[in-house]
């Protein structure tokens, strides 16, 4: 059985993530996979390198699973984030959600990806045609109530 949360240098497999979930009583299964895009902000991207503060990033994923369980007690969630070098079209993050009903599976999955982008200490180093840049997105404060509410709003409405 693979772990429900992981920070890994190995290629991600959404189907394996689904198999990690207990589907007893489940009516809906969703997966979300984020792929490395060939373009970003008009730049032609060659590859990405993701760096993590691994123990805290794993803790961040676990925190997100816990937050989701508070909001959607019937949802089972698995989240894997890849680190290291990735080419175009490779998966950087995979989320699987299982739930008795579809609304909760969609919402929890969406919530998870929004929260990953807010609080998990992972950084994307973009190598584009002509240069490279560290992408800086959100400030990693898990206690920021506004950020959490924003993620919840995107997921639930």
């Amino acid at each position: 059985m693979i772990a429900l949360t992981a920070i890994t240098a190995e290629p991600l497999d959404a189907a394996a993530l689904v198999r990690a979930l207990d589907i007893t009583g489940i009516g809906a299964l969703t997966t979300f996979v984020g792929l490395v895009r060939d373009h970003n902000l008009g730049r032609r991207v060659m590859r990405l390198e993701y760096e993590a503060y691994e123990p805290l990033a794993l803790r961040g994923l676990e925190l997100i699973v816990q937050e989701a369980a508070e909001q959607w007690p019937d949802v089972r969630l698995a989240i894997h984030h890849r680190i290291g070098r990735m080419g175009i079209g490779e998966a950087s993050v995979a989320i699987a959600a299982a739930s008795p009903h579809r609304a909760d599976a969609f919402a929890a999955s969406r919530y998870a990806i929004e929260r990953i982008k807010q609080i998990v200490p992972i950084w994307k180093h973009e190598y584009f045609e002509g240069g490279d840049v560290w992408i800086e997105g959100a400030t990693a404060d898990p206690d920021n109530v506004e950020a959490r509410e924003k993620a919840m709003k995107i997921a639930c409405t």
């Binding site: 123990p55 950087s92 992972i122 992408i135 800086e136 990693a140």
Partner: protein, 81 residues
């Protein structure tokens, strides 16, 4: 006392190292450790407003007091996903 400072992404590029060991006075806060680091590497100062911090691989606050041997991490804005 000694603390280990962990730096990531652009912060690591600025200091040239992902892990530094520094002296800190007893009772120093995470914020004080950051300030000494900025004194050493002025290029870090624009991150003052946007960084988060962790102590011993758990989310923390700049007001937290550090202890001898602690691992203090400074986290620039994240971009996972």
């Amino acid at each position: 006392m000694h603390v280990t400072i962990r730096l990531f992404a652009r912060l690591r590029d600025i200091t040239g190292s992902g892990e530094l060991t520094r002296e800190a006075p007893g009772g120093a806060t995470v914020g004080a450790v950051w300030s000494s680091l900025v004194a050493e590497y002025p290029e870090l100062s624009p991150y003052e407003k946007s960084i988060s911090c962790a102590v011993n691989a758990d989310y923390s606050r700049f007001s937290a007091t550090v202890a001898d041997g602690d691992e203090i991490a400074f986290l620039p804005p994240v971009s996972g996903g």
